[in-house]
């Protein structure tokens, strides 16, 4: 129940902030809200677009949540996602000879491995040297930008552009209208189904597998676990790499399911959105899915209202929700290092 209160009050704060910003801009909050609804859940196309936008958010949300369980902050989803997107686009362009049934699983693997590999450096730094993964993953984000830019310039990009060549036919992820014809025309793909499976699967694995349990225990008290012979550095590294792999999978919907190529900047913002989803989703598979849908709605809604109110209002809302949901969040507070300590301090 307290969870529901936290989430509800966070949403209430978000709505207030939204109304305030719209009103300051000179428009009517209720009108804009109506437009946002019409542009999202009001039509099948809009709903499909919401699902499309929610897909990478769900993957990165799972990624951040997984890391949080181990007591780690993966701020590197942006970089992991970008690297995986490039990898998937490049490999996808070369799978012409394979049937979809082989190409797609292969590409999923590539996405996961690429994302995981990009998280490997911070993971090793944490495991071997105890280096703070927050700084390391932030640095890897910036390095990713540079490396991708360099690679694109060095030949991966189609001449005189900032995009890769198209992927092969077999590499395309089928659109969602294969399952639900109403979504025809929207960009939502089966990647969404994948993401939802990943959400439930990851939460299940954390609870039922030995490694998953150990990761959670390490997140609660790494020192005690080390004393009990749990290989803490290895679990931390594993959690971070798996987290990166999930972030990498976020590329599938956008590259394989929609664009069919990678261009610089594609998918940006899904990394930080993942943090919002993880915090709002509060470590439950259903919560993560709902949170991803919520932020997906905001993002699509932002496009719909852009003529009236700048769509960046949605980014501001994302930040506001993150704060609102974290104020008094006991799980996040448990990770704080020495805040006020003594109770008598006013």
């Amino acid at each position: 129940m307290p969870q529901a209160i936290t989430v509800t009050s966070a949403l209430a704060v978000a709505w207030t902030a939204f109304a305030l910003l719209v009103w300051l801009y000179g428009d009517s909050p209720l009108l804009v809200m109506k437009l946002m609804f019409e542009g999202t859940w009001g039509t099948a196309y809009g709903a499909g677009q919401v699902l499309f936008k929610a897909t990478p958010l769900l993957c990165t949300g799972i990624a951040v949540d997984l890391a949080l369980r181990a007591g780690l902050f993966n701020i590197g989803c942006e970089g992991q996602l970008a690297v995986a997107s490039l990898a998937v686009a490049v490999v996808g362009a070369r799978t012409g000879a394979l049937p979809s049934l082989l190409a797609l699983p292969l590409l999923l693997l590539v996405a996961a491995v690429a994302g995981g590999a990009w998280a490997l450096v911070p993971a090793l730094l944490r495991a071997r040297f105890g280096a703070h993964e927050v700084i390391a993953t932030i640095m890897m984000n910036r390095i990713a930008d540079a490396v991708i830019g360099a690679l694109m310039g060095a030949g991966l990009a189609v001449a005189a552009s900032v995009r890769t060549q198209d992927i092969a036919r077999s590499a395309h992820m089928p659109r969602l209208d294969v399952l639900v014809p109403a979504f025809r025309g929207s960009a939502a793909s089966l990647a969404l189904v994948l993401a939802v499976l990943l959400a439930f699967g990851s939460q299940w694995a954390l609870r039922r597998t030995r490694v998953g349990r150990e990761i959670t225990l390490v997140g609660q008290n790494a020192v005690a676990c080390a004393a009990a012979h749990i290989p803490v550095p290895r679990r931390l590294a594993l959690a971070l790499v798996l987290s990166g792999a999930c972030a990498g999978l976020a590329s599938t919907g956008t590259v394989l399911g929609y664009k069919g190529y990678y261009e610089i900047g594609l998918g940006a913002g899904a990394g930080f959105g993942g943090l919002a989803v993880a915090l709002l989703g509060r470590s439950s598979a259903l919560g993560l899915v709902l949170a991803a849908l919520f932020f997906g709605t905001l993002q699509q809604g932002g496009l719909a209202i852009n003529a009236h109110v700048p769509r960046e209002v949605v980014d501001v809302l994302q930040g506001v929700v993150i704060i609102a949901v974290s104020i008094g969040d006991p799980r996040v507070r448990a990770m704080l290092t020495g805040l006020t300590g003594a109770e008598a301090t006013p």
């Binding site: 597998t209 349990r213 150990e214 225990l217 609660q220 020192v223 005690a224 004393a227 009990a228 008598a344």
Partner: protein, 495 residues
């Protein structure tokens, strides 16, 4: 309010606590406690580990806020009593874990919170140094003012804490277990200082569980048991230990435990010339199967590092450790022993999930069965495996950690301060388990600051000074010899 004291003069109590209640989560640490402290005397607050003494005095110093009750200082009752108001009222506390900052110099530590300043908030270090020098004169000892505290030893750190208290000209000085880190000789010196401070018109409160110190040095004693104060009375110098012991336990005295004198097996733990960093400078020792060997020594001479090397957490630079399977019960059970937010069940099988895992998945029925068996064998109460570990008392928490270590049937058990913060009944049970483990052939290395505990359980007591084992004694050795060895002084050889 005024209260007449024994000599008939009116005197306001320097410190008065009335009806204090304090709770941490589900546990009541202090329940309806009262305390009255006067100037001019050394007032001891005694109780076994876990009786609530530290909590009560932290409330007196404003460091913790009580759930109920009142704090009066010199007849005044400040609203919202906190550390700052306490300081303003002249109350200061030297805590068990020093409130010292490694990154600041000794002088900066002393003046922190009461800094003399010039215009614009700039520190007046010259005045500060002068006043600090005067305080050191009062103390009869000194500490290098410009050294970073991180480089100082434990004894210097305690002197710094006391210097800070005097720098603030505290009228009520509270010390929490100050002698845990001192050798028997240094204890005497400390009490001389405290006596002098008391005679200057200050109130001195010492929180301790060492009854012989109370008997020898304190004027007034308050007994605490299970969070309640059980009365205050003058100390009958030289004749009080037995009576106090009775008051502490409040019931039948527990049967004395004696270490078995059975046959010993082969050597299970051999440490040779172990070197690590600056803390360990060549430790050599041996423990045989069935033997309980104790290590005594002033805290800070490498004991923690030795434990960590044996536990595989810290690496050695030189030397070797030859042992079978080692299980280590670390000093601080809350940070190094338990995952407090997890259940008793998860804690009692922590790190052993592999044996209950089939095909990557954990079999919860097996886990439950194993957990219940261990809870039963070690009498962990309450016996519900689903409770969060946080909800159990210190003694039962320690039992969980011990149960886990012993369930692995190690060749060597290294246990540090097993009964710190544990009530007497649980401590007794823990001692029984350690003796039983030794009887089964486990080699036990017991590291403790409590000489009574070491004497009661060990076949041999080693003394550790500055990272080396310097002497070995039989448990019957007297305090003075042990104390001298702990200081690194000359020792007569003993086997």
């Amino acid at each position: 309010m005024t209260v007449a004291n024994a000599s008939g003069r009116d005197a306001v109590a320097a410190l008065r606590l009335a009806g204090i209640h304090k709770r941490f989560g589900e546990l009541w640490a202090v329940r309806g406690a009262d305390l009255e402290v006067r100037t001019g005397a050394i007032h001891a607050v005694v109780g076994e580990n876990g009786a609530g003494k530290s909590t009560l005095l932290k409330i007196a110093a404003g460091i913790l806020a009580p759930d109920e009750g009142e704090v009066w200082t010199f007849g005044e009752r400040p609203a919202r009593y906190d550390a700052r108001r306490a300081q303003a009222a002249g109350v200061a506390m030297v805590q068990q874990h020093f409130a010292l900052f490694d990154g600041l110099t000794a002088l900066e530590n002393i003046i922190l919170g009461a800094e003399p300043t010039r215009a614009g908030g700039r520190l007046d270090l010259a005045t500060a140094a002068q006043r600090a020098a005067r305080v050191f004169e009062q103390l009869g000892a000194s500490v290098p003012l410009h050294a970073k505290v991180g480089t100082l030893g434990v004894g210097d750190k305690q002197r710094l804490e006391i210097a800070r208290v005097l720098f603030r000209d505290a009228r009520v000085i509270i010390l929490d277990e100050p002698t845990a880190i001192l050798t028997p000789g240094e204890v005497g010196t400390l009490y001389l200082t405290l006596r002098r401070l008391a005679s200057e018109g200050r109130a001195v409160v010492v929180v301790t569980h060492k009854l012989d110190e109370v008997d020898a040095h304190a004027d007034v004693v308050t007994v605490m048991r299970r969070g309640e104060t059980r009365g205050t009375r003058p100390v009958a110098r030289g004749a009080d230990v037995a009576r106090l012991a009775g008051e502490l336990i409040g019931g039948e005295p527990l049967p004395g435990l004696r270490a078995e004198a059975g046959p010993l097996g082969e050597t299970r733990l051999a440490v040779r010339s172990l070197v690590s960093g600056r803390a360990l400078q060549g430790v050599t020792l041996e423990v045989r199967a069935g033997e309980i060997v104790g290590i005594a020594g002033v805290l800070g001479n490498g004991q923690s590092e030795l434990i960590r090397v044996l536990g595989g957490v810290l690496s050695a630079d030189a030397g070797e450790v030859v042992a079978g399977r080692i299980e280590v019960v670390h000093e601080d059970r809350q940070t190094a022993g338990l995952v407090l937010d997890s259940t008793v069940e998860e804690n009692v099988v922590l790190g052993e999930l592999r044996q209950f895992t089939h095909g990557g998945l954990v079999d919860d029925t097996e886990v439950r069965a194993a957990a219940v068996a261990r809870i039963d064998r070690f009498a962990i109460r309450p016996a519900d495996p689903r409770l969060p570990a946080r909800a159990l008392s210190g003694g039962n928490q320690q039992k969980i950690v011990l149960a886990r270590a012993l369930a692995r049937e190690p060749d060597v058990l290294v246990v540090a301060h097993p009964t710190r913060g544990v009530d007497l009944v649980a401590a007794h049970a823990i001692h029984e388990q350690i003796l039983a483990a030794a009887a089964r052939g486990t080699a036990v290395l017991l590291i403790g600051a409590d000489l009574t505990e070491l004497r009661c359980l060990c076949r041999r007591i080693l003394v550790m000074v500055r990272g080396r084992i310097v002497a070995a004694f039989p448990p019957s050795t007297d305090d003075d010899t042990l104390g001298a060895a702990m200081l690194g002084g000359k020792v007569t050889a003993a086997s």
